[in-house]
């Protein structure tokens, strides 16, 4: 196309860097756009599945955005949703198979939620809003940025839920066994942290802190 006449944009120009950094804070998919909440509630009881989930979503979104951006001028607008779904579904199946082959235990824990990446609103949202209208490289950055914005919330939530709910981190016992009531101590794990409502409340607290610090995000009512 006509891009050779123009001056080439540097790979990590200010605009491109923004694509990665904005979704981490100001444009965060979970805390600001409130997308992808269901998987954030479901997979964050432990740190490990949350981390694997974040990586999986990142792979699907990064590659998916590249594919859609490359095809964007050839996809007929009327059937674009179906094309997008085919791309996501193919990528999710790939991720699922890779997880089953190399991380079977985690894939068991994530169970249906790997398959449900297909319905993760963030992915469709980025395809529609960004990849359909932008070039390959910025689309890739946007996909990675949004997936990481989603991922770090997942990991923070899972950190608190696993630490307070199970007394472990990444499966390692952090609270000494002697502290527990059953062993004559005083401590007990907070069973409510493992239940989904507490994930919602934890996400809520993150949103609260973010809006307290960035006042522009507060809606007028």
């Amino acid at each position: 196309m006509s891009s050779e006449k123009k001056e080439r944009e540097p790979l990590f120009s200010l605009k491109n860097r923004k694509l990665i950094t904005a979704p981490l804070g100001r444009d965060n998919p979970i805390t600001v756009q409130v997308l992808g909440i269901c998987s954030a509630l479901a997979v964050t009881a432990k740190l490990e599945p949350a981390f694997v989930m974040a990586i999986s979503v990142m792979a699907v979104m990064g590659i998916g955005n590249v594919v859609i951006a490359a095809l964007r001028n050839t996809i007929p607008p009327r059937i674009r949703i179906i094309v997008q779904l085919v791309v996501i579904a193919a990528l999710v199946i790939l991720v699922d198979q890779v997880l089953k082959a190399f991380a079977y235990d985690v894939s068991k824990q994530l169970s249906v939620f790997v398959g449900l990446i297909i319905t993760n609103c963030i992915i469709m949202g980025r395809f529609e809003a960004f990849a359909m209208a932008n070039k390959v490289w910025p689309s890739f950055l946007d996909g990675i940025g949004n997936a990481w914005g989603y991922g770090w919330i997942l990991i923070v939530v899972a950190f608190f839920r696993e630490l307070l709910g199970s007394g472990t981190l990444w499966g390692y016992q952090l609270i000494p066994n002697a502290w527990y009531i059953d062993n004559g101590g005083f401590y007990a794990n907070n069973g409510m942290m493992i239940l989904p409502p507490m994930a919602l409340i934890t996400v809520g607290v993150i949103i609260w802190v973010q809006r307290y610090r960035t006042k522009e995000l507060i809606e007028e009512n």
């Binding site: 009531i181 005083f186 007990a188 907070n190 069973g191 409510m192 942290m193 239940l195 409340i201 809520g204 609260w208």
Partner: protein
């Protein structure tokens, strides 16, 4: 007294704008108005028809809880000495033992809860509200006597922040804060909030400490077991294990009389809670599929936290419905669901807590429909009058 007033007047300028401790203004204000009647008067027209302010309301409700608290203290000791058969206490020994067990829970609840409120008042720069005076007393009353103090603290913080402050503080909350605290503990630390090991402080080894509700539950889950409840009058007076303030229906009724006499609580809600509970009890009697369903509805009224919830929790003016008709519906459904949850769901022995929290959430909806129905009725009447004219 004069000295105290002088002292307050002396340090007051430091807390005003520009003073050294201007940031702590709301803290100072809270203490000052707690100790002395504020000397501010309304300058323009106002709608107040009673000198009853939030502080006096709260004080009266706390007063109404005192009988239940005193009996609860005595009962904690009584159950303790009953379970350790080796020693028996007289009335003062019982009371003293209970006092030592219960008092720390009250202190923790108040210190932690008020501390959280003060912190929020400082950050947000508004006055400290008196709302926690009642919640702080309700929380100890719905705890098992053996609950670890740090759990009380965690639950209180959770209840004040997520039950109240996120909605905008006193008067804006959707859920009853004291029940939020209890529900939090119930789901977070079920081992310390249910079962047959937590209801008697310093329990003897060979004794089962199950509450009558726990016994009734066991009769449905263990096949072949029969159900023997304590005497109804014993349960009415409160000689049974249970949460600190909820065992004695008699003491709670004394509180109810105080609340109703001073006009603090709605008799409509109280009455309809009991009606709803009795009706559901009779329906279960009529079905009679197992021993639990055949319990007399009147026993349901005196078991567990039913009476306590009906008198002190359901009538919380902030979380209850506001319209007259809505109050009947709200109360009736609380009683109805409380018995339903109790009998049908073996995982949740205390249905009263869940029923009240559920109806707290539905209260605005009930009010909305009551008002809409009224609007519709009046519109129809108006239309009919137009036609006639």
């Amino acid at each position: 007294m004069k000295a105290l007033r002088n002292f307050l007047d002396k340090i007051k300028p430091q807390f005003e704008k520009g003073g050294k401790f201007a940031k702590l203004q709301s803290t100072f204000e809270a203490f000052e108005t707690f100790l002395y009647v504020p000397n501010r008067v309304t300058l323009t027209g106002s709608h107040i028809r009673d000198a009853n302010d939030l502080k006096r309301t709260m004080a009266l409700v706390v007063l109404a809880m005192i009988p239940a608290l005193l009996f609860g203290m005595w009962n904690v000791g009584y159950q303790h000495f009953l379970s350790t058969a080796a020693e028996t206490g007289d009335i003062w020994q019982n009371f003293w033992f209970g006092c030592i067990r219960v008092f720390p829970i009250i202190v923790v609840s108040y210190v932690v809860g008020l501390g959280t409120e003060f912190v929020f008042a400082q950050i947000r720069g508004h006055e400290v509200n008196e709302g926690f005076l009642v919640s702080g007393m309700l929380i100890p009353l719905v705890m098992p006597p053996d609950v670890p103090l740090w759990m009380v603290a965690v639950a209180t913080v959770f209840a004040v922040i997520f039950g109240k402050e996120v909605f905008g503080g006193t008067g804006m909350n959707i859920l009853n804060p004291a029940l939020t605290a209890r529900a939090f503990l119930f789901f977070a630390y079920p081992k310390n909030m249910s079962g047959d090991q937590v209801w008697i402080a310093g329990q003897g080894d060979a004794v089962s400490g199950a509450t009558p509700l726990g016994d009734a539950l066991a009769s449905t889950t263990t096949p072949g077991s029969s159900l023997t409840l304590p005497d109804t009058m014993d349960m009415f007076y409160g000689f049974m294990p249970g949460s600190i303030g909820e065992t004695s229906t008699l003491a709670i009724l004394i509180g109810a009389v105080i609340l109703l006499f001073t006009g603090m609580a709605s008799w409509r809600i109280m009455l309809s809670v009991f009606v709803g509970g009795l009706l559901m009890g009779y329906i279960f009697n009529w079905v009679g599929a197992n021993a639990y369903m055949e319990i007399s509805p009147w026993d349901h009224m005196v078991m567990g936290g039913f009476a306590f919830g009906a008198v002190f929790m359901a009538t919380d003016p902030v979380t209850a419905t506001q319209s007259t008709k809505g109050k009947y519906i709200y109360g009736f459904l609380i009683g109805f669901f409380a018995i339903l949850v109790r009998v049908f769901n073996p995982a949740y022995p205390e249905g009263m807590m869940l029923a009240i929290l559920l109806m707290n959430v539905f209260a605005p909806l009930i009010d909305h429909y009551v008002i809409q129905a009224n609007v519709k009725k009046r519109r129809k009447r108006w239309a009919a009058a137009q036609v006639a004219a």
